[in-house]
Amino acid sequence: MRITGEQFAGVRRGKTGRFLLTGGTGFLGSHILAELLTRGYPVTALARPGGRHSARERVERLLDWFGLDGDARSRLEVIEGFIDRPGLGLDPGEYSALLGRADEIIHCASDTSFSERKKADVERANIRGMENVLGFAVDGRCFFFHYVSTAYAAGRRAGVCREELVEGKTFINLYEETKCRAEWMASERCAREGIRLSIYRPSIVYGDSETGRSTRFNAVYHPVKTLQFIKNLYEADIRHEGGKRAREMGVEIADDGSLHLPIRVEVAAGGGLNLVPINYFVEAFTVLMEECLEGGIFHIVNHRHKPIEDLIDYTKRLFRIEGLVSCPAAAFDGIPKNPLETLFDTYLEVYAPYMRDTRVFDDRKARSILSKKNVVCPEFDFEVFRRCMTYAMECGWGSKEK
């Protein structure tokens, strides 16, 4: 190891080591960044510029969103860089200087797209990005590499997925595959170079279970957003355009004001989503990072799947929708999908395997540490659902700032 356990413990106690964080403008990365700064750790965020904003402005805007005070911000350094470019896109002098400042690396940057047509982007971010960040770790003084992966690096399988490297051969999508490959890359390189390694594997992360706040509205939000769109579309047709198009779709407003949307959602017996809120993820990540000084692989997951039937029920209650039903695949035999079902299924096709997921993530290793600190994953009940979706709608599913 590049540093002894005793030396490392001293660095952590004194918070004298600096973290280099990638993906600091992403969903998980920004939450980790805010948490580390709040806890008094010095952090260098490597970030890209985006749109009209510089890297610094992007990070600062996020910290505004988190309400971080000046004291916490004083520990932040922002460097504009690109993990998918050689030398992280830094000039040689800047690169060398940064090598001497990064004691630990938290590699969070990732392309989370599931789409095959974005293959080049996903591979560039998740594989080439990992190569470059590992190269930087090896070149410099880094003694601990933290990789934020995903529970779904387990790949396509049935049953229990353990907190260990996966000899996966098949995956649901390129995202899973690249995350798995990146885990192996990190594991082999860090072992060879004497760098401690922790791999954190969250399942599907949604907003804050207590406040509903979030900066991203994909995954579990996406089907809800699609349904809200369909609902608004046909309500507008009924209210302002005479309702002809709604009638053609079998959509109508009942006397009690609820909207009848004839949509069947295919579900698998025992399947459902493994959902964790961002506040739980951040707390779990921090505890595991602070407690496990020798590293490891940790599942940050919910111990039970959320059945799709429950999510359908929540959606119906929140939006006052009727007609939305869950049913097995056999129900579609002989009764073809209507256009609404086609639209809904088309939009959810990449999420469908997760909706029917029966993988069980064994999190004993993580839980044994987290339970000692009373860190428990909250239940995704209707109140949490309502809070998160209300927040999402208030900010236009991310199109409006809040």
Binding site: E116, R117, F229, L233, P339, T346
Partner: protein, 619 residues
């Protein structure tokens, strides 16, 4: 007193001469229709107002007449807005106001002196049709072509017959006066200026259809739009150029090419015979045994064989079941390969690979909407290119079998009439978030999705009209209530939306014949144009490719966009040309099938085989 707002608008006239054809069914500018001189059309009045603001001309007798004959009917506002987004009516009013103020103030009105030559010219064409009034001369002295300066002619005349043309040429020859011919009083390439005589052929507009011989004899003032309209009345079609371009002028200059050239060819393919007046004033037909051999091609800039006074052009049959189709692609190479395959298999009639810029601009009635759609097509829907096809039902069936996704006639109408709603709102967010396997456009094109798309877009004349100025909306509602305005076949035959390409800026088009099976060569040409333009800070975009001759060749257009009133933009073009010319010349020398249209100029009557199939080592 010059109005700055009117001056700015006046300076932006693109000289596309669209105000000289009745392409929207609004009727024509009344004085233009009667007087024929460009100066009496909105285009000429725009130039005149700009010239007055620059003190280029005095107030003349002719100018007073030009100003007073304008009825402020507003036709120009509708026509010009459709094409350029500009509102010239305020210029027309400002011109009238300026001239009337001048007259009221008792200031001098210049009356040009008659000279002996003018008398002789008037004797040939009639007093009304020859002039040396500076107000009329000015409107033949300039155009937006950035590489040519202003050149005032001494006389402008409007001959009415081939014999008059012949007599004018003889006289000019006798007097040693240079002359130039303008088919429709407008030119965008700068080759029609002279300090001698300009002959505007606007009065020679006869069309004679010979149904049994599948041809039409047209005089040199006949526009593509007018000929197509006559052909349509007979249930026929002609391969034509831009709607305001004259048929004869277009053939002589470059040969007619369009998306229909896929089946109708170009250059000598398009006509049966032509009549010319040679430099000595002698009339000849190409079918005369003693006529010069204009079917041959010389690989250099060559003068035209004379003044075309008649063309007998081919007419083609039309099937009642023809419709347009669009096949979207995310990838240029696949789009070109698809178009080539259609051409090679003789599937479809008109075929072209269009870029997202063209698609967006053609479909959008306002510049603002076009900009949104241009971003939406590639970034959100994944449509970077589309292969446009017109075909009968057998061809369309074949295309559907060959293509993964198709935008058919019904869907196209829906998209076009609902375009403002397609380009914004929650719908766009939803599509943007689509993570599925196929491209996002594939969702839109599914039959099952059509009812939902209709509910989203609410396609109607009112929906599309919402994207234009409020006072024009009622006009646009009426306009888009007409089925042809959303009919891909009609739009492609009459090409009335093609001039929209110059809506945001004047367009400087480069056209190159290319070997269609060499996508690497086509890519290298596109890359060169982009690199050179970007280096100069010039707005630029891919235009289109149309396959020709069974997909063996194609014609590529790449466009630069400039503010033609900005001298710096002109300098940029000049600098760009120093790179473009050697590149294209070198490529033409080393690569068989590459031929820059510049070298075909004035040889539009030649056999296409002579310039499409090159030796590869030409000078």
């Amino acid at each position: 007193m010059i109005s700055e707002e009117a001056r700015k608008t006046a300076s932006q006239c693109r000289h596309y001469a669209m105000c000289k054809i009745d392409f929207l069914g609004t009727g024509l500018c009344p004085p233009g229709r009667e007087k024929h001189y460009v100066a009496y059309y909105p285009q000429g009045r725009m130039d005149l107002y700009h010239a007055l603001s620059e003190n280029l001309i005095p107030v003349t007798e002719g100018l007073v007449d030009i100003a007073r004959t304008c009825t402020l009917c507003g036709i120009c506002d509708r026509q010009c807005h459709f094409v350029t987004g500009m509102r010239p009516l305020k210029v027309m009013k400002a011109l009238k106001d300026h001239v009337e103020a001048h007259v009221r103030a008792g200031k001098k009105i210049e009356i040009p002196e008659q000279d002996r030559t003018l008398e002789q010219l008037r004797k040939i064409v009639g007093d009304e049709w020859a002039t040396n009034d500076p107000a009329i001369l000015l409107t033949y002295a300039n155009d937006p072509f950035p590489l040519a300066g202003m050149q005032m002619p001494r006389y402008v005349l409007l001959p009415g017959t081939a014999d008059q043309v012949s007599a004018v040429v003889s006289l000019a020859s006798e007097l040693g006066l240079p002359y130039a011919v303008r088919g429709n009083g407008g030119s965008v390439f700068g080759f029609v200026f002279t300090d001698g005589i300009v002959m505007d052929m606007n009065r020679m507009r006869k069309i004679e259809i010979d149904r049994e011989n599948w041809c039409a004899a047209v005089e040199p003032g006949v526009t593509s739009f007018d000929l197509q309209a006559e052909a349509c009345k007979q249930g026929l079609r002609v391969n034509t150029a831009e709607p305001a371009a004259t048929v004869c002028g277009n053939i002589v200059c470059t040969g007619t090419f369009s998306t229909w050239s896929n089946v109708y060819g170009t250059a000598a393919d398009g006509f049966i015979d032509m009549e010319f007046v040679d430099r000595s004033g002698k009339l000849f037909h190409l079918n005369d045994k003693s006529a010069p051999n204009v079917f041959a091609f010389r690989d250099q800039v060559t003068p035209s064989p004379g003044i075309c006074t008649k063309a007998v052009v081919k007419l083609h049959p039309v099937s009642a079941d023809e419709e347009g189709l669009m096949v979207p692609f995310a990838d240029f190479e696949r789009a070109v390969a698809f178009a080539r395959e259609l051409s090679a298999r003789r599937i479809g009639l008109a075929v072209a690979v269009l870029g997202s810029h063209y698609l967006a601009t053609f479909m959008s009635p306002s510049e603002e909407l076009a900009a949104k759609v241009k971003a939406l097509l590639p970034e959100v829907l994944g449509i970077h290119h589309a292969v446009f096809v017109v075909g009968d039902r057998y061809a369309r069936d074949a295309v559907r079998k060959m293509a993964e996704t198709v935008i058919d006639d019904r869907l196209f109408r829906t998209l076009m009439l609902g375009l403002p709603r397609l380009a914004e709102g929650e719908w766009v967010d939803l599509i943007r978030a689509y993570e599925g396997k196929g491209p996002p456009y594939a969702i839109l094109c599914r039959d099952a999705m059509y009812p939902i798309l209709e509910a989203v877009l609410l396609p109607s004349p009112e929906t599309i009209a919402a994207s234009v100025d409020e006072d024009l909306r009622e006009f646009y509602v009426q306009l888009y209530s007409r089925p042809e305005m959303t009919d891909m076949v009609w739009l492609n035959m009459f090409r009335i939306v093609s001039s929209r390409m110059a809506r945001h800026r004047h367009m400087f088009a480069f056209l190159i014949y290319v070997p269609l099976d060499r996508v690497d060569v086509i890519r290298s040409i596109n890359a060169m144009f982009k690199r050179v333009a970007d280096a100069q800070g010039l707005d630029n975009d891919y235009g289109f490719i149309t396959p020709m001759d069974f997909g063996k060749r194609g014609i590529l257009e790449y466009d630069y966009y400039i503010d033609h009133t900005d001298p710096e933009e002109r300098r940029k073009i000049e600098r760009a040309m120093t790179e473009i010319e050697p590149f294209l010349d070198g490529l033409g020398r080393g690569t068989k099938g590459v031929k820059w249209l510049k070298y075909v100029f004035s040889q539009g009557c030649s056999r296409k085989e002579h310039f499409l199939y090159t030796s590869g080592d030409s000078p």
